[in-house]
Symmetry: C2
Subunit: 244 residues, 2 copies
DNA sequence: CATAGAATGTGTTTGAAGTACATAATGTAA
DNA sequence: TTACATTATGTACTTCAAACACATTCTATG
């Protein structure tokens, strides 16, 4: 006998009082990259229970909103960015994870260029924090962050998803610094170049770095096709992007 | 201004009426294996809207129940099995995916040995179905099934998770048949043996198949350590298992 | 009992991809 | 001009996956 498979008036009533009383939220782990460090966008929690702690950017899913739409809305509200890469990672639903009631949350991660969103420090208490050494987040947000970071680490060698974190043009050294920041390990320069170039993700621009205090490196960019597919949101958003 | 970060009486009221009215369910994609075919456990839907269609085994998450507990309960209720491997895959939350109201569902997959659960045909309308060629499931369950199958396919070469689908002792031929059923492709016998034995998952029992109409193959079993880790539920269940 | 047939068990070769490591070339700065 | 840092590229060794061939062991049949 499962609750979903009865079909009486009593059931309807019982179901709605007993079961349809959960809120669903989305939490966005928004990664950025600055100063050779991986960062994450956090907001000061204003719940008494988590006074002074930082939390991920999230919000409740609205009644007229698909789950998958919600993180795009959060991202648009918080960063002004749309058509971004966004991926569902995992759902967290411990009974007491939220002090205000039963809130089940689905975590998404995203990658945006910090240059495009330097939060005005007065606006609201949104700040970029280094991922490394981050502790004591509100709710179960440390667990969510760790889970999303692990997923990100698993995916960066498989898919060209990190290029939102750089400018359009970049040197291989900059790209390697980024990979090292995400993975938390050092990579061999020569092997890294080989692996990346073999993937065929990059286009050689035949340009050189400028204003660097050393020998300039060649500049590359991500292939246009791939930028559309992996950096600008999901397939349903593709049409709008392509038509621009 | 996000709903989660206000904190007034009005907010409380508005929040609870507007947001805390979703039900969360879990749906279990329970894979089995029989007759060299991958199967999935389905139940006849008794919702009018899906008359005659099959659906996955699921249930609403209870108020006093962690999300992660729910699929274990469903599995226990439906199959009598506990301490099984179970993994969260993805959460589905389209507005109208459930005709009875807003139900967000988290999908899990599991692997159990059909021998241990031959549903009594009278009991309730639970049956094993071949995964291949399955169409027209209730709700968005076809999408959920496809998503879980894809995840399963991605994982079977990385982790020793499929051994619940076989008896304790098995030949490499039987194991290969299983992999082929899951992946939907043919594998080369010699390369398969090499890949599997290199992983160090198996123990050679120094026994032979019996009652087979051809040359008997050697029998293997999964290493005990791995059976505990990957076939008998998650870490939180490990202690209970180990103490048996 | 001999032989054919079918499935098991164990290689080798080849090429692609990953790892470890060295050297040449180009720019800055003293 | 020289020292130094950084870019750019190459080579040998290993690991991994795919394609492929042959010998062994049991059953079945005449």
């Amino acid at each position: 006998m499962t609750a979903l498979h009865l079909k009486t008036a009593e059931f309807e009533k019982a179901t709605h009082s007993d079961f349809f009383n959960i809120a669903v939220s989305v939490d966005c782990v928004i990664f950025g990259y600055e100063d050779k460090k991986l960062k994450v966008l956090l907001i000061k929690s204003d719940l008494e229970e988590f006074d002074g702690l930082w939390s991920l950017l999230g919000d409740l899913v609205r009644p007229n909103e698909d789950l998958e739409e919600a993180p795009y809305r959060v991202l648009l509200d918080r960063t002004g960015l749309k058509d971004v890469f966004l991926q569902q990672v995992q759902t967290f639903g411990s009974i007491n994870r939220h002090p205000s009631g039963r809130v089940v949350t689905t975590a998404y991660y995203s990658l945006i260029n910090i240059i495009n969103h330097q939060p005005k420090s007065l606006e609201n208490e949104v700040h970029w924090h280094s991922v490394k050494g981050l502790e004591n987040l509100a709710f179960d947000h440390k667990l969510i962050l760790d889970t999303c970071l692990k997923r990100l680490q698993e995916q960066i060698m498989e898919h060209p998803i990190v290029f939102n974190l750089l400018g359009e043009k970049f040197s291989l050294r900059q790209l390697q610094d980024l990979y090292e920041a995400i993975l938390g390990i050092d990579l061999d320069r020569r092997n890294f170049r080989k692996r990346i170039t073999l993937k065929g993700w990059l286009v050689d621009l035949n340009e050189m770095e400028e204003d660097v205090p050393h020998r300039p490196g060649k500049l590359y960019k991500l292939r246009n096709q791939l930028r559309k597919e992996f950096c600008l949101g999901e397939k349903k958003h593709l049409e709008a992007v392509v038509s621009n």
